[in-house]
Symmetry: C2
Subunit: 195 residues, 2 copies
């Protein structure tokens, strides 16, 4: 049965819990048993929904990629200009980081990449590639509309923004400094502003 109003299917609950655990501990430090405990089920039940851990990992990153596009669509529809879109994109990560110390799922998985099942690592690559393209489009639109100015390609700016976001969260976690990420990214977009 699927979820009814206000409830989530077991499958979705598994994905939610697994995502939270990976964003906190990484792929190799969570187990089917952790999931089963939180769900108050048995590990065999979790395996029913995702036969292997790699299956779960792939489904997770694939869903995360969908969420990225969903968030970007939502930001686009909110009617802000390209610079505002990037600000909201950053604010998104700031919220989850400060509220639950969660890094970007793909950021954590990237760190562990060589130890991941190949299909999971491939999905991570796809996510970053997607994010880069989406951000590049925003940079390009900003330049076209003359609300942003920068040298080099929109693609390069997108890459720098991605690196800045991921790196700032990573270092913030390592330093155990909750406001580090916000402090660092606050001024970052200023350099793109026109006028």
């Amino acid at each position: 049965m699927n979820a009814t109003a206000g409830t989530l299917s077991t499958r979705d609950r598994i994905l939610d819990i697994a995502q939270r655990l990976i964003q906190s501990r990484g792929y190799n430090a969570f187990s089917f048993n952790d999931l089963a405990k939180e769900l108050k089920l048995r590990t065999a039940s979790v395996h029913y929904h995702f036969p292997t851990k790699a299956d779960l990992g792939v489904a997770l990153v694939r869903r995360y990629r969908g969420q990225l596009h969903h968030e970007l669509d939502w930001i686009a529809k909110s009617g802000v200009d390209p610079l505002g879109s990037l600000e909201q994109f950053i604010a998104m990560f700031d919220r989850t980081f400060r509220s639950s110390n969660a890094l970007c799922l793909s950021c954590v998985l990237s760190a562990e990449a060589p130890s991941l099942p190949k299909p999971v690592a491939a999905e991570v690559t796809r996510f970053i590639h997607d994010a880069e393209l989406s951000l590049a489009k925003i940079f390009a639109a900003g330049k076209r509309a003359r609300v942003m100015a920068f040298k080099g390609s929109p693609r390069t700016q997108a890459r720098m923004l991605m690196a800045m976001i991921q790196g700032a969260m990573l270092v913030a976690r390592g330093l155990r400094h909750r406001s580090y990420f916000r402090d660092m990214t606050r001024g970052y977009l200023g350099k793109y502003a026109v006028g």
Copy 2:
């Protein structure tokens, strides 16, 4: 017995192998058995040198912190100006990343921080703190000598550089793009140059 010329003590060999494995797979994806296999010893022998995995982790990050200072001293003695020092600092990471796909040890451990033994996580915090201070001194010296120009504190610039380096390596690994890190960091320091 300690190492004689050209050889390494078992303890040092353990540290070398463990560091490489963590930089590749992360803390939770390497085992005493992995070390024993490479050393052609038994796991009990590894435990003789480091009773627990946490002991090994702490020793590792502590040594890595020493290496950081050693590298920075070496760069300082090479006689380049502050901007050149930062370039060499970045080049250091570029070399290990491109030659062996190795991320910064503390970067990988930061990603897994909530799942690490507390003493290990504490050592990671210390490393990043140290690196930040050392880089801030270089930025300050560059400003004093008028070879670098920037707004804000040297500390903030150091943080941005750290985030950029760590984030660029992380994203480069996730994307499986060997030259990504170099491409991204190549132009980064340009903005600090005077004249």
